[in-house]
Assembly symmetry: C2
Homo-oligomer: 462 residues x 2
């Protein structure tokens, strides 16, 4: 029996695609130059089918890669002559339990669908990221997604209470618990989260929900330097205890460029020309008191001169407009020509010296390159967009070296939230020791001895 026949028997003929019948969305890798050439695309209907597909892959020695929304940006989905298993049909929201503050969803449910379902019950699924409409819960778990509210509610890792997954031998392992505290044995869930589908395939998740905030205070503020930004962050975290949910930073050149581009469509919320811009948001449960506390905290900083300029959103519409400056980026970036994005993190204490060094490193190889920083500064996660250098492998490598060597010096991470995939594999050893990488490989070999699950991602076994 051929693999095609076996796969077809498992998912049904209509859910198996090969050759030209494979839609481009299963080939395309978001933002990346890697070519994906799956031999088979399968769309299982349930966990049982996922398990049988993995067993079939293993029996035939064919690699298999689970696919969520396809919006990862590090080549984590790229396969060559392998099986792409799209989980798009695992899309049920099974339960929302308001008393236990949990929701139980299939891996293929989008982040946005899960957010909206929770909100309809007056609850918050706290993960939020630009790709919410396409990214799936399973993908978010597999990559330990971050986004703009990590400061307050943590990464996806911190929101997973229960998990069901299929291991490399097809075993379905399940702990669909709603319990917040569970120290009964190894927490294997934590091992699977963030391993990019290389140790198991997430099929179902119990998510911890939070009370839905009913007040939002949002401000765009201009500050003289990074030290001022961090001191404002710390002081807001203290004064508004627990309510500061986002603290995004945009360097002056980034703001001037992006807000300038966006000005074609809508008014700029604040003049350009300041050194740094922070987008600050506090979410709470008491509109008047929250607003008073927020404005009091900011006005103290304005009086003492730590804040140069401030715009506080007075309506939900104004709030959305402030967030668009930070979120509506792709068209502005595309206007730069070919661009590259970086995702790195580091301790706050080292951020200023990192920026200086990274800028200098880039200028040393590409004096005319643009390099604009922004990011989720509240949690130490920076993004960087570069443009100018040729769009080829050499230039990509040179820019990677320029940026990651500065990251290495400050003991940061070459991946704050996007993962390693294929793209950053060669740089893993720059911020991870040999002993760490060996330990990762030991775990991979123990759980997937035939190297069937999304092989070659994160590291190459040898």
């Amino acid at each position: 029996v051929s693999l095609t026949e076996t796969l077809s028997e498992i998912v049904g003929k209509s859910q198996l695609f090969e050759g030209d019948a494979i839609d481009d969305r299963y080939r395309w890798d978001f933002m990346l130059r890697f070519q994906s050439n799956p031999r088979h695309v399968v769309r299982p209907a349930n966990t049982e089918e996922v398990s049988r597909l993995v067993k079939a892959a293993k029996a035939s020695g064919t690699p298999i890669t689970a696919m969520g929304g396809g919006t990862g940006s590090t080549g984590g989905l790229v396969v060559d002559n392998a099986i792409i298993m799209s989980l798009e049909r695992l899309n049920r929201i099974h339960e929302i339990d308001p008393k236990s503050m949990t929701m139980t969803v299939d891996a293929g449910v989008t982040v946005q669908a899960a957010q909206e379902a929770a909100e309809a019950q007056g609850l918050l699924f706290a993960l939020d990221l630009g790709a919410r409409g396409s990214a799936t819960v399973g993908g978010a778990v597999s990559t330990n997604a971050g986004g703009s509210r990590v400061l307050r509610w943590g990464m996806m890792r911190d929101m997973v209470l229960g998990l069901e997954a299929v291991l490399a031998d097809g075993t379905i392992v399940s702990a669909m618990t709603k319990v917040l505290k569970d120290n009964a044995g190894y927490d294997w869930k934590q091992l699977l989260i963030g391993t990019e589908g290389t140790l198991g395939i997430v099929t179902k998740v119990v998510i911890r929900l939070r009370p839905l905030p009913i007040s939002a205070q949002t401000a765009l503020i201009a500050v003289p330097d990074l030290d001022a930004a961090i001191s404002i962050l710390r002081s807001l975290e203290g004064e508004l205890a627990g309510r500061v949910s986002s603290f995004e930073l945009m360097w002056g050149d980034f703001y001037d460029y992006v807000a300038g581009f966006q000005a074609q469509r809508r008014p700029q919320p604040m003049q350009g020309g300041y050194p740094l811009y922070c987008l600050v948001e506090a979410l709470g449960g008491h509109p008047e008191a929250d607003q008073e506390a927020f404005e009091a905290a900011l006005s103290g900083k304005i009086e003492e001169g730590t804040i140069l300029d401030a715009v506080i959103a007075q309506s939900e519409r104004e709030r959305q407009a402030l967030w668009l400056v930070r979120d509506d980026l792709i068209e502005a970036f595309n206007e730069l020509g070919k661009w590259l994005a970086f995702d790195i993190s580091m301790p706050h204490a080292d951020m200023a010296s990192f920026i200086d060094e990274a800028r200098a490193n880039i200028a040393a190889v590409y004096p005319d390159a643009r390099a604009m920083f922004y990011g989720h500064i509240g949690d130490g996660n920076l993004h960087l967009v570069t443009a100018g250098p040729a769009d080829d492998a050499d230039a990509h490598h040179n820019l990677d070296v320029a940026v990651y060597s500065a990251v290495r010096r400050v003991s940061g991470s070459i991946s704050g939230e996007h993962g390693i995939g294929l793209q950053k594999r060669e740089f893993m050893s720059w911020t991870r020791s040999e002993a760490e990488i060996q330990l990762m490989k030991t775990i991979k070999r123990a759980l997937d001895p035939d190297n069937i699950l999304n092989p070659g991602k994160v590291f190459e076994l040898n």
Copy 2:
């Protein structure tokens, strides 16, 4: 060369103890009946010595168990003819970095010493538990300690940014990072946390710190039933967004007994006789506004009758007095004669039916037994103290069965925060599936093929 000579060479003669020279504190297991008979006790001075000791243990085929404060309660430290490696000399606080909000400490530093050092810099190490004076940071990491503030800041797992550990082959694996977001490869730290020293020995930790709260609102409230308690919790979590830090529950019989016993020494903060008592605490950064919000939230509940009675602490002294009702338990328990303590967790939605069933199960085997519930209700973690039945293995087993069968029915956990150790090993399969336990064993075999590190804890390899 004998093992004794090798060990002595590594740590020095003065740090090796055998036979009668072994102090009782290395033999005694907190609250448990298990006998611990170490053959060697060693006290290494640093990570390098820990590594050499593990290598020596492995070479001679002798099990080795790392020891922190010795206040675990599940027999996790019990060894027979093996090496106890006390980490008490690894007790340096290396650095507090206020800008990055981190502290770097050796595994042997006590939780209290770390808390105090952070506080001296105006920062909060958020873990808090009754054993703070003896429990060590390394022990807290190895057991994923919980305590009374998990509701807001999570378990120890959520506070670990960086880790250094020694693996079963003596490899030192280190990721002493201060970074909040790091998705560069598998997060092996998460695998080691909470595995009770069976996969690696934690030697150094980078802890995430928080802004030190400057205001505390603390109240003891009486409520008619569990539904009322949970609805108050949810509504406070909403209104006081982010500030609710503890929500402890004491059932009426527990409060009446404990507060009655304590009344020999200090006045009872509230009359007995109510069905349930909650100890609620919110920590914030704005004393007046926080107090106003807290009192407003409670008075609404008093007016509508959800709160039957309330005492709000008006001073730090009154606050301490309220906490003593919940924390000053051992003498009151000892007055009951031989007592047993349980640590279980479950979803809020199932808590009421669990309590009924557990009480009925206990009464069915021991009609005259006392069974009093209390716990960290905010995070679904209950404790139960029983007294009355004979203090023998049969009675312990019967009580375990009575309680854990009720836990199993509601898909709870047989260990909310204390771990499995030896004590709960035989019940692991009651709330963990066979596939989960097999996965744990696969991981253990891969990382510790000779079963050298604290063998027989959590599960027995076979």
